[in-house]
Symmetry: C2
Subunit: 190 residues, 2 copies
């Protein structure tokens, strides 16, 4: 019963998936590991750092399809993979969004999207704007979607089905706006 950092992070991920983010407390995690809460501070500096590590783990365990060549198809793919990674764990979107909000970890999607959009022929000043806009859409949509999914799964009344294809539609909307900013626009693509 002597743990390492990985054990703590792994267990935290399981607690997250079983009980949700609100019940992922240092005290509960301690109990789950059969250890005093204070013992956890030997493996992580504080709760925020723990959450950042768990968020990074959620993203790392997400799907990773073979990269596509076209910049716009690649950007869409990154967004789809990000959504799927967050949906795979209970409160995954809330966790990743929270960790992002307090400025720790979860930088992978940002960097990947920047790379994908850099070779698009976009005005360089527009790249960070486009990346941020895509990420705002993905986080916002997935947060809403997961809230509704979880409410429907635990809840009493059957909610409106809420098309999954809404994600694809909204993403296409944003991508269309971005494509329009590419100077050598060769008509419409899809």
């Amino acid at each position: 019963m002597r743990y390492h950092r990985t054990d703590v992070v792994d267990r935290a991920l399981r607690v997250l998936d079983e009980y949700g983010l609100a019940d992922l407390t240092m005290r509960r995690l301690g109990t789950e590991l059969g250890v005093q809460p204070s013992a956890l501070y030997h493996h992580v500096a504080n709760k925020q750092e723990l959450l950042a590590a768990v968020a990074d783990e959620v993203l790392a365990r997400g799907p990773r399809r073979s990269p596509l060549a076209a910049w716009d198809a690649r950007a869409e793919q990154i967004c789809v993979e990000l959504r799927e990674a967050m949906l795979a764990y209970r409160d995954g979107a809330e966790l990743v969004a929270a960790v992002r909000a307090f400025g720790l970890g979860a930088r992978a999607p940002y960097d990947e999207l920047t790379t994908a959009l850099a070779g698009a022929g976009l005005d360089p000043d527009l790249v960070p704007v486009a990346v941020a806009t895509l990420l705002h859409f993905v986080f916002g949509h997935t947060l809403d979607e997961q809230t509704q999914l979880q409410a429907a799964s635990a809840g009493a009344v059957a909610e409106e089905p809420r098309e999954t294809s809404d994600f694809a539609l909204g993403l296409a909307l944003v991508m269309a706006g971005i494509r329009q900013q590419v100077p050598a626009a060769d008509g419409l693509r899809r």
Copy 2:
């Protein structure tokens, strides 16, 4: 020293602006009013309801310019006003986003945008998608922006200035994507 609901909500808004959302607790609010925390439960059912009322107050106190005629100019205006309303109070974006996330209040921007986009000639199935996409952008951007603004104001190092015009650029990107879905598209507008 006998309070009504309005007194409690008003005081909560002041506590929010002075100390931030994290310090807006029932106990602190009680102290601020010179009253036991339990007394607050006479005016609000619980903390969530209180926060919803405060969020609605933040939005209600926001600017309201005279409505524009063109559907796209109107939609942009609603987004700009929403951002300004949230930026006017400390942690305003975090509060409104949180209240929205737990399904209470703050429905005004959604309804206004739906009205604005309804007369755009958009496929009716696309209206909720476009509204959601715009709101995800506004909340996501303003959340990030306010975090950085407040970090810079209280913080040590002077951060990158982070152009305010990024909001206009991102918003234009999303609007361009939406305009493209309008059948009778009369060339480009701006």
